[in-house]
């Protein structure tokens, strides 16, 4: 087998996390990876007190040093920071070059990235450049304390089967991790760490990708919403009703794949294996059959309410509260009852708008 650029016996005990940033904000998945990295490294060091694994962040950009403080507060021991005008926007050429340099200088044993569009592009390039393996879109990570082997969990297609993937002879052990599977730590301002400045040699000729136009919205992050109202094929495209319900409950609307493919709702609201994995306190599943691809996306929900007219629908196997009936009657009835009890869609109204409820949590 062809070897990676550096072998296991030359690795350093560094778990490197790619800190993805956009306009001065760290991506949520990067903070989640710092938290998981912290946990894994603490376990390793506890198992063998002479072991000195550390969590390092890889931060690339232009004038982004301020983010290093947040990354340290969220679990990093040190930050490798490369700042350069050509790193202001993500281009695969500049970012892969800078990241490659840091990986080779640190000889990190483990390198984790978020499975975001840019994270996937970067990981795919770097794994080939480093001649190492890549575990993609992982839903779990563990490290074997005795040998530092990373074991990545990947959910197999369609079925309820999980595959554990690892590699022995190649370094770094790379993985991209799906956003939302781990939880970030609350920032601890007392945590300390050092920032290591990296000089990167980039020239405009190296960058082949030209950004012609860009307009980025805020998007929606379904991973952390308190209430998820999800619709499937059984909604027959009627997402307006679900939006109203979601608004009353202070939640957001999600969907299975078919309504997304049919254009009834934005792709960023797709829940499940190839979409978002979310952890609402309540998930209300409307007209959803309950295929495994979808169900993995609500596995972490506190309580699941399912409404479906088919008594055989497998969604009921994944629900706490099951309602056998027509969504087109039941959802309007639910909306009416909420209104009657003072749950107003516009939170500033009198009564028990969600803003008041959220204030009560704070």
């Amino acid at each position: 087998m062809a070897a990676s650029l550096f072998p296991p016996n030359l690795e350093n005990k560094i778990l490197l996390v790619y800190l993805e940033q956009e306009q001065g904000q760290l991506e949520g998945v990067s903070l989640e990876l710092l938290a998981k990295g912290r946990e894994l490294v603490d376990q390793m060091n506890q198992f063998e007190s002479s072991s000195k694994w550390k969590v390092s962040g890889l931060l690339l950009g232009d004038q982004v040093e301020g983010l290093a403080t947040l990354a340290i507060a969220c679990g990093a021991d040190e930050i490798h920071l490369a700042e350069h005008p050509l790193l202001q926007n993500f281009t695969i050429e500049a970012y892969s070059r800078a990241a490659f340099q840091v990986v080779m200088e640190t000889r990190a044993g483990v390198f984790l990235l978020g499975a975001t569009p840019d994270g996937r592009d970067l990981a795919g390039r770097l794994a080939v450049r480093l001649r190492t393996g890549l575990n993609a879109d992982c839903t779990g990570l563990e490290m074997e304390a005795e040998n530092g082997i990373l074991v990545s969990e990947i959910s197999g297609f369609g079925g309820g089967v999980l595959a554990m993937i690892q590699m022995q002879q190649h370094r770094p052990q790379m993985a991209t991790v799906r956003p939302g599977v781990f939880s970030a730590l609350d920032p601890d301002p007392h945590r300390t760490g050092k920032v290591i400045q990296i000089e990167v040699d980039l020239t405009p000729e190296m960058v082949h990708t030209r950004l012609v136009e860009r307009s980025v919205g805020h998007g929606v992050d379904l991973r952390k919403v308190p209430v998820l109202v999800a619709g499937g094929r059984g909604m027959h495209g009627d997402f307006d009703t679900l939006r109203k319900l979601a608004q009353q409950l202070g939640g957001e609307v999600g969907a299975t794949r078919p309504p997304v493919d049919e254009g009834h709702i934005e792709r960023e609201r797709q829940i499940g294996q190839t979409g978002v994995v979310c952890s609402p306190r309540i998930a209300i599943c409307c007209g959803i059959s309950g295929a495994f691809h979808f169900v993995v996306g609500i596995e972490k929900a506190g309580n699941v309410i399912a409404i479906n007219s088919d008594p055989q629908a497998s969604i009921f196997e994944s629900a706490d509260y099951c309602v056998l009936g027509d969504v087109h009657q039941l959802i309007p009835a639910l909306i009416a009852e909420l209104e009657k009890q003072g749950w107003s869609a516009s939170s500033s109204d009198e009564g028990r708008g969600i803003a008041d409820r959220e204030a009560a949590y704070a």
Binding site: V128, G133, A136, A163, R214, V216, G217
Partner: protein
């Protein structure tokens, strides 16, 4: 304007809606599922065909797998592709991302390269989505990923693509050649052209130049240490059942209004 030479990489997968999970073993029953071209790859194929409609040129379909995949790939010919290259050899089997991208890159080299190499966003069976950029790295060329639209300018050697990201969009431009990954459902793949269907499904015959070429490992200038299981650093160390969460399965009954009252109470109690 010079004509475009495109390669579309496709994978043949079992139809997801026909793959059943055994409720006892929770294992996949693939045997009774029919196969198809991975749906995201059909979007890649359609994007390539759209450029061919506009600018002419040739499209080669490239796939890896057993010879039995050939009939599924011929759908591509009937849609307007020019030739199929199927990489079929036991030595290719068991390939992970590194070995797969290497093998595809060697095949593209053997084809003499391409202006555009199209891939689907991900495969419906693996959904890893890491092949396009790995392939671009082996080929040493630029990439445009997750595109919903593309235009090419062979005169100036440029490709320009639009992608939807983070609640917005961006338009990127790269020099040709480049690898393009296409967002799932970016377009509506065309139907087969029935005027060329007979031609597309004409069986392979000895002594006649066919539209399907099957290459074994020996046909590629490939390092045996870099292909298949041999060339794959990662391995599956364990398979486990996905833990299913215990849910309460309480059925709520009554009229719509009565159910609504109960649901509101449940929501209040659990929020």
């Amino acid at each position: 304007m010079p004509e475009l030479c495109s390669v579309v990489c496709v994978k043949v997968v079992p139809k997801p809606e026909e793959v059943r999970v055994d409720p006892q073993t929770r294992l996949l029953d693939r045997l009774n599922a029919r196969s198809e071209i991975n749906p995201p790859d059909m979007n890649a194929l359609e994007m390539a065909l759209g450029l061919k409609d506009r600018y002419g040129g040739t499209i080669n379909l490239l796939s890896m797998g057993p010879v039995s995949f050939e009939p599924y790939l011929r759908v591509g010919l009937a849609m307007g592709c020019d030739h199929i290259y199927l990489l079929s050899d036991r030595a290719f089997a068991g390939a992970d991302t590194l070995a797969t991208t290497y093998t595809l890159a060697q095949a593209i080299h053997k084809l003499g390269g391409a202006d555009l190499v199209f891939c689907g966003e991900e495969s419906s069976d693996g959904a890893t989505g890491q092949v396009p950029s790995g392939l671009a790295e082996w080929l040493g060329i630029a990439q445009l990923t997750l595109l919903i639209e593309i235009d090419a300018d062979t005169e100036h050697g440029l490709a320009r693509g639009r992608r939807e990201i983070k609640g917005g969009y961006e338009i990127l431009e790269v020099p040709l050649p480049c690898v393009v990954s296409v967002k799932t459902a970016a377009n509506e793949p065309r139907f087969m052209d029935y005027r060329i269907k007979d031609w597309a499904f004409e069986p392979l015959a000895a002594g006649r130049p066919g539209r399907v070429t099957i290459w074994s490992a020996g046909d590629l200038d490939a390092d045996p240490q870099c292909i298949g299981l041999n060339g794959s650093p990662t391995w599956v160390s364990a398979l486990a059942q996905a833990p299913s969460r215990d849910r309460k399965h309480i059925f709520i009954e009554g009229s719509s209004a009565e159910i609504a009252v109960q649901l509101v109470k449940l929501i209040q109690d659990n929020l």
